[in-house]
Symmetry: C2
Subunit: 148 residues, 2 copies
């Protein structure tokens, strides 16, 4: 197959972390699968529609040639959309059981869906949601109606 030659996809999300082994264990507990591309200094986990990269915070900054100085809110949320409210409860609980911080217990939210949040061991923020207005394909990717 040939990948689309456009910027409009995300092949991989890389998270800068403090402890690669801890983060790998955490994400494996959520169903991400370790791959043969992983090395001692970097972990590549295969998900349904994307690869999750785990890398040291410092080398990630170095790779992008930016400063690693920074703290607090990252202004990024990664969403796991699921087919039902019960699935949201289950996956959110699974994350907390694996060591995530519970930022927001899943609940009905103003836009008509059901959503909770957790943070991974480095504070990276994930939303777990059921959105009754959005279609999901069989990889968990969201399909919305575009303007023609």
């Amino acid at each position: 197959m040939t990948a689309p030659v456009t910027a409009a996809h995300v092949s991989m999300v890389t998270l800068g972390v403090a402890d690669l082994a801890r983060s790998r264990t955490f994400y494996e507990a959520l169903g991400w699968r370790n791959t043969k591309a992983s090395q001692p200094t970097v972990v590549f986990l295969q998900g349904n529609n994307i690869v999750l990269g785990l890398y040291g915070r410092e080398p990630l900054a170095e790779d992008a040639e930016v400063s690693s100085e920074g703290s607090g809110f990252k202004a990024v949320s990664l969403a796991i959309n699921l087919p039902s409210n019960a699935d949201v409860d289950r996956v959110h609980a699974q994350a907390v059981a694996a060591g995530a911080a519970n930022l927001k217990t899943p609940q009905n939210v103003f836009w008509g869906g059901y959503s909770g949040y957790f943070a991974d061991p480095d504070g990276h923020m994930w939303e777990v949601a059921h959105n009754p207005f959005a279609s999901l394909d069989d990889t968990g990717a969201m399909r919305l109606e575009v303007f023609e």
Copy 2:
């Protein structure tokens, strides 16, 4: 189709931004398509394998029930993988022409690939890369060999 009931996917990445219209214009210039799910206070852009959400930095923090205090390095990189080095050059240049900051001009990198970085108007960091060792499917998703 039925979405997988597992945490191992990313349906949507939401970026907290300062100016929704500016960010929407920027990402549309990169090929992301606006959708009928967008509203005055939130933008949902359809990509090949994922939805990109744009939301105010403050309401994103409020939605997760966390503080919006934070600055500097976010320790998150979103990667656009492409089929060739020439594609990387073209998409990186397209982003810079659309107003991105050029963090790293695409170049051969130590792991054997070809990679550059840009930052969007709010400093969200994107890598544009060709990885000769990774397969991409026809949505731009990366497919690595998992451990059985």
